[in-house]
Amino acid sequence: MIQGTFLTPNTIDEAVKFFSSSEGSVKLLAGGTDLLVQIRNGFTKPDKIIDIKNIRELQEIIDNGNGSFTVGAAVSGASLAEHNKFGKNWPGVLEALRLIGSEQIQGRASLGGNLCNASPAGDSVPALIASGALAKVHGPNGIRSIPVEKINLGPGKTNLQKGEIVTQFDFPDREPSSSDSYLRMIPRTEMDIAVVGCAVNISMDGDKCIDARIALGAVAPTALLVDQAAKIIIGSKLEDDVLNEAAKACQNACKPIDDKRGTITYRKKVSGVLFKRAIQIAKERALKV
């Protein structure tokens, strides 16, 4: 099993043991669509690589009933898309993950890798945050369950401790008339990095919004949960003036960078626009289920 510097544990316990007891730099490998690029361009040179794809829990998709799912951190986009129920309950999460790269990248890219790579522009991260999913983390000191928005601290930085692995995502029960959506703005139509991403997850009671979680990506060092915007729309009938006010709250939450992909002013403006479009989609979906 142990072969020099490439390890392929079959259980979580083994993986945690290898990961926490290893000297030097150690990297977990899920789909490798970030890690291999980083190794290739010399950004990282791990002494040891631990492939976590052969661990059952990291590859499972479990339907817990009531719209709740447990999804392994290493499940690929292509395989999550083949599940017959996940995308009906969490279309926003699935569409966000499916936006990542081409079909070849989809064969490997995972939710766990997208989150733990900690890019501010990771597409599935705002959708995971809006869903209210908890990340299950196994480490040398046991298991903890952390809201996804607490995992990333900044570009390339997570609050995972030495030896800790994100093993699964727990998606909560679905209330009736609930759904989600994700939209991103990219300069091209395909295969590009988000300038702004926005995820909306809402529950409706008739035409009234009774619960909401809104998250933005690529407009701050980490993806953001925008409570202020959710507070404004909860209890409303999503009238235009309410949505305009919530869009402003989204804009105010942004702390974006200025770069060749988008200026600060542009990113802020677009975050409001995307929010208004995303909530429309989430609402239409919610009223259908």
Partner: protein
């Protein structure tokens, strides 16, 4: 660093090799196994010239470690011709002039086959989306899409 011993199946044949931890599947296919059909163009997952299937899943072999193939099944462009006969997709690529320099072609064919295996009657939009990760600097894509459509039609007639 000690070498890693890998036992895998490539195009249906049991295959063994020794590799370094950082070697990609593409490195081993091309440099050790003499399977040079898969091309290396970008090495960063953008162009699809290195496309292979791993347990029937389309992936970029440049973004896969050779060590990961242990116990798995890999299919490359070399496995597409059966008993010296071209696959229908290969014939249609020739008939429709869906290649010029040919560098993207192996990856295109592997990707197109993986689409038709999963979805025998793709729409034009589905073909274009599926092949979005395969870049071609010569053909303008249209002839490639037509060739895949023609292959799909002929495969359905035969089935």
């Amino acid at each position: 660093m000690s070498k890693i011993h890998v036992t895998t199946k490539i195009n249906g044949e049991e295959t063994e090799y020794l590799c370094q931890p950082y070697d990609t599947m593409l490195d081993v296919l091309r440099n050790q196994l003499n399977l040079t059909g898969s091309k290396e163009v970008c090495s960063s997952g953008d162009c699809g010239a290195c496309s292979v299937t791993l347990n029937n899943r389309l992936v970029c072999s440049c973004l896969m470690l050779a060590a990961e193939a242990e116990g798995k099944e890999i299919n490359t462009i070399e496995g597409m011709t059966k008993n010296g006969n071209f696959h229908i997709l290969q014939k249609k690529f020739l008939e429709h002039a869906a290649l010029q320099c040919g560098i993207c072609t192996p990856g295109m064919l592997v990707a197109a086959k993986s689409l038709l295996d999963k979805n025998p009657s793709p729409t034009e939009t589905e073909i274009r989306f599926w092949l979005a990760g395969n870049l071609c600097r010569c053909t303008g894509y249209d002839k490639i899409v037509r060739a895949v459509q023609a292959a799909s039609d002929e495969m359905k007639e035969k089935a």
